[in-house]
């Protein structure tokens, strides 16, 4: 192989051997994280309808409806309670759908606290959360993607 290879994008540029290796490494999936099940579900074509239904079915926190609270940016204490509800649902889930709903509540509550208050409400570090939030933003329906994008920006310190 030469040190460079014609770029398939048709731009006329050539890919250096180092670039090819970096691009090839992007193919690695790495160890599967718990959040990947949610990311896969949100990457499915019917994700918007699924997420809407999941949020409708999600347990309320007192009188608070979780989806609205997370999108709107409720206070950090409320978001913490939503996160804990998600954890509980996840631990006690009898079905995959409930498990995914628990994951969604957990992560979106964390995202909301980061996006609206630039506050961490979980034990994960900002560095750990940043790639997760980017992955979520890449597959979420628009309103949630916007929230995740802002959360990711704050996690990276660029917000």
């Amino acid at each position: 192989m030469n040190n460079s290879t014609p770029n398939p994008s048709g731009s006329g540029a050539e890919l250096e051997a180092g670039t090819i290796t970096r691009l090839f490494r992007l193919g690695l999936s790495g160890p599967r994280r718990p959040v990947d099940a949610l990311i896969d579900r949100l990457g499915a074509p019917d994700s918007e309808a699924w997420l809407e239904r999941a949020m409708e079915r999600a347990p309320r926190v007192g009188e608070i409806e979780p989806a609205g609270a997370m999108l709107r940016g409720a206070d950090a204490d409320t978001l913490s309670r939503i996160k804990n509800t998600g954890k509980k649902l996840l631990a006690e889930a009898g079905t995959e759908d409930h498990r995914l709903t628990g994951l969604a509540l957990y992560f979106f509550a964390v995202v909301s606290a980061l996006a609206h208050h630039d506050t961490l409400i979980c034990s994960r570090t900002r560095e750990e959360l940043h790639p997760v939030l980017l992955d979520l933003a890449a597959v979420c329906p628009a309103r949630w993607a916007e929230l995740c994008t802002k959360g990711a920006a704050n996690a990276s310190g660029a917000g």
Binding site: T5, P8, T21, A138
Partner: protein, 227 residues
């Protein structure tokens, strides 16, 4: 011979599924092989003592024309259990020997020697390096096409500018009129598509169902070959 006889149904691979489908499937397999494996075979040819046989591209295309037309070619590959790139390299060696014999027959004054083909360096390594370059190229082509089809041209642009030209998201974002965080997410979307495409293409190289050994392990092994 019936299609199902050529490819046992128990071995579900992309190539097997395509060949069992119909003639369109066969054409699809041939297109895939010619697109992804031309570069590795070309690299191999240029490293051999048989370069005198002719232009590298012509020789590789001649090989494809001859072997891919054979009904049992891919069934024999799957029986071998070898990665497709290795199988093709072996078949290509036989083809080069045939070409050498034919050339010597046509030039009657020459001896009809049948020496093994000599290669300058490690042929497996040369093939692997070119195979990776070709896979990356093909995955980029397919991902770009998919992004354009779905109206995500800018997602692809961010991916390409960031990963191929090492430009920071902030600069690309300025070009596109979005913020850097949005650019990072756009790249993530395109990267996810690229990853899935690359892994699918790599799985096609395996004669075993489900891509054989773990795809991550295959990627790591090939990255070592690139070092």
């Amino acid at each position: 011979m019936a299609k199902e006889d050529l490819f046992p149904a128990t071995r579900s691979t992309w190539i097997g599924d395509q060949l069992r489908r119909d003639d369109t499937g066969r054409a699809e397999v041939n297109r895939h092989v010619m697109t992804v494996y031309a570069l590795p075979l070309r690299a191999y040819f240029l490293g051999t003592s048989e370069r005198w046989l002719g232009d590298a591209d012509d020789i590789v295309q001649g090989f494809f024309a001859d072997r891919l037309a054979r009904d049992d070619f891919f069934a024999a590959w799957q029986q071998s259990g070898m990665p497709l790139r290795r199988w093709l390299m072996n078949a290509f060696c036989f083809y080069l020997k045939e070409q050498r014999r034919r050339h010597r027959r046509d030039n009657r004054g020459s001896a009809l020697g049948d020496d093994p083909i000599a290669f300058c360096g490690d042929p497996d390594r040369a093939i692997d390096r070119a195979f990776v370059a070709s896979l990356v190229q093909r995955a980029m082509d397919l991902t770009r096409e998919g992004c354009e089809k779905d109206g995500m041209d800018d997602h692809w642009r961010v991916f390409e500018e960031h990963h191929c030209r090492a430009r920071p998201y902030a600069d690309i974002a300025t070009d596109l009129g979005v913020d850097a965080a949005r650019a990072a997410v756009m790249a993530r979307t395109a990267t996810r598509r690229f990853r899935m495409t690359l892994r699918e293409l790599l799985a096609r190289d395996s004669a075993a169902a489900e891509g054989g050994e773990d795809i991550d392990d295959q990627i790591r092994a090939l990255v070592e070959a690139l070092a």
